[in-house]
């Protein structure tokens, strides 16, 4: 039996004409899940509900064994990489990556080491003193990833992380995402509308349509080529 890491249980949410109707699905632990669907169909809302930025109108959300539905975002053990990275406008790369640890009042030496580790792994060690406006799109996404990983989350949420990048960079970053997910033992939920990304990255694919989510079948680990 696969261990469940992320579970949506009959989540409903509505705003105007837009609704989520009893969305229920499960992401197995340490798997890379890709959620696909047309733009505007509610994929981002699902991520927001999982991360605690939005409260569902009914239903529960589980991470591991914990019911996190009423927990604040900072206590859920998740890392969130929104579209375009959402950098903190006035902080350097070093301060962005170290942010989560600084909030937790970790000692400076520990923060320093973690920042060095992550920036080396993600290839941004030469950018530590830069401000966000001097970063390229690809660099921003790497920094956003490092920022999300700093406090050792168990779940990684990615909202169309590769959409704004050109094709060459996309493949490179996709490989990085997969590698990071494996090495850190993360459960990833990655939103995209690109079938190529799903093919490259997904262990599990979900499709979202008309406010409902269905599983698209388990892909062999390592992905196929399309």
């Amino acid at each position: 039996m696969t261990i469940e890491m992320v579970r949506y249980d009959h989540i409903t949410w509505q705003a105007g004409a837009f609704r989520l109707e009893g969305v229920s699905f499960t992401v197995p632990a340490q798997r890379y899940a890709v959620l696909m669907g047309r733009t505007g169909c509610g994929k981002t809302t699902l991520l927001e509900i999982l991360s605690g930025l939005r409260h569902p109108q009914s239903g529960r959300v589980f991470i591991g064994e914990r019911d996190v539905t009423d927990l604040p975002p900072g206590e859920r053990g998740i890392g969130y990489v929104p579209q375009d990275g959402a950098m903190f406008p006035t902080l350097t790369v070093r301060e962005q990556i170290g942010f989560a640890l600084r909030i937790r009042k970790r000692p400076a030496a520990e923060i320093d080491q973690r920042v060095r580790e992550l920036s080396d792994q993600l290839g941004v060690a030469h950018l530590l003193a830069r401000l966000p406006q001097h970063l390229s799109g690809g660099e921003r996404q790497r920094v956003a990833l490092g920022r999300a990983l700093a406090a050792n989350p168990s779940v990684l949420l990615l909202d169309e992380p590769l959409s704004a990048l050109d094709e060459e960079l996309r493949d490179e970053l996709a490989a990085l995402l997969k590698r990071v997910q494996r090495e850190h033992g993360l459960t990833a939920l990655h939103i995209t509308h690109s079938r190529r990304e799903a093919a490259l990255l997904a262990d599990v694919v979900f499709r979202m349509e008309d406010g409902r989510v269905t599983e698209g079948g388990l892909r062999p680990a390592g992905g196929g080529n399309q």
Partner: protein
């Protein structure tokens, strides 16, 4: 611009802008050349006018800070929060901008004549007297029927603040509207409370907007006349600010002093404009 020379389209638009600009500059030039610089500087040396300059600078600066303190949370609330009746609140906050300044001044006066207003006005004076704040701030003890705001310097600040804050709120609302909420969201997933996210991420990014909002409030306060006249009076050496000076000097026929003070205010306005432009925000 077409290859056949400057097109009629651009010429006609430039003409309209040019006429307006010419009129503005002609007025300023006429004022500036009304008298010789030496006489103007002499006029500025009068005791009452020196006091007025100082009072204007101090009250406008205090008003700017107070306006900012109100504008930051209010602007943020309007930009981020959704609540029933929001459009009514937005309209209400625009009242000081839309109403004629004299009307605002009259409303202030009437409020402080009302039982509640008097209670508030005299009440604060009594509290200040009790904790000796009156002697600390003004150097003399308040008599029993003293009032803090009506016909006082505090009244000048209040009259400036009521209108200045409304402009500052507008500016800050615009600033926060243009700042994406996503970084704040990310900060919260990283462990921040809303307050921490606001302090660590949003405020630093809003610095330029805050400077612009304070500058708007400062500039507007510098020019405030009607409400101050009605509410705080025009007592020389006490509640006289620069616009009041212009009016008082005009009313006794001392055109030189009026012109001198007006030119001084033009210079102040240009300094503020320059500072805001350099900070990169729009007024």
């Amino acid at each position: 611009m077409t290859t056949r020379g400057v097109s009629g389209f651009w010429v006609s638009f430039a003409f309209v802008a040019g006429v307006y600009l010419f009129f503005l500059l002609a007025m300023l030039a006429a004022t500036a050349s009304y008298s010789v610089p030496e006489d103007l500087l002499k006029a500025l040396g009068a005791r009452e006018i020196q006091h007025s300059i100082l009072l204007s600078l101090i009250t406008c600066s205090i008003t700017a800070i107070l306006s900012l303190l109100v504008a930051v949370p209010t602007g943020y609330l309007l930009a981020r929060a959704r609540f029933p009746g929001k459009s009514i609140v937005e309209a209400a906050l625009d009242i000081p901008i839309v109403l004629p300044p004299m009307v605002m001044g009259l409303c202030l006066l009437i409020f402080f004549q009302s039982p509640f207003g008097r209670y508030f006005d005299e009440g604060i004076a009594r509290v200040m007297h009790k904790i000796k704040l009156d002697i600390i701030l003004t150097g003399y003890a308040f008599p029993p029927d003293a009032r803090v705001f009506t016909y006082t310097v505090a009244g000048v600040i209040l009259a400036q603040f009521v209108i200045g804050a409304a402009f500052a709120v507008r500016t800050m609302r615009g600033t926060f509207d243009h700042l994406s909420a996503r970084p704040e969201d990310v900060a919260m997933t990283l462990g921040c409370t809303r307050g921490q996210a606001f302090w660590l991420v949003t405020l630093p990014a809003a610095r330029r907007g805050m400077f612009a909002a304070a500058s708007v409030a400062w500039a507007r306060s510098m020019g405030e006349f009607g409400p101050i006249l009605v509410f705080a009076g025009a007592t020389r050496m006490k509640t006289e600010v620069l616009p009041t000076t212009v009016w008082l000097e005009l009313s006794v026929g001392n055109l030189e002093a009026a012109v001198a003070v007006s030119l001084l205010m033009v210079i102040f306005a240009m300094l503020v404009l320059g500072a805001v432009k350099r900070a990169g925000e729009r007024l």
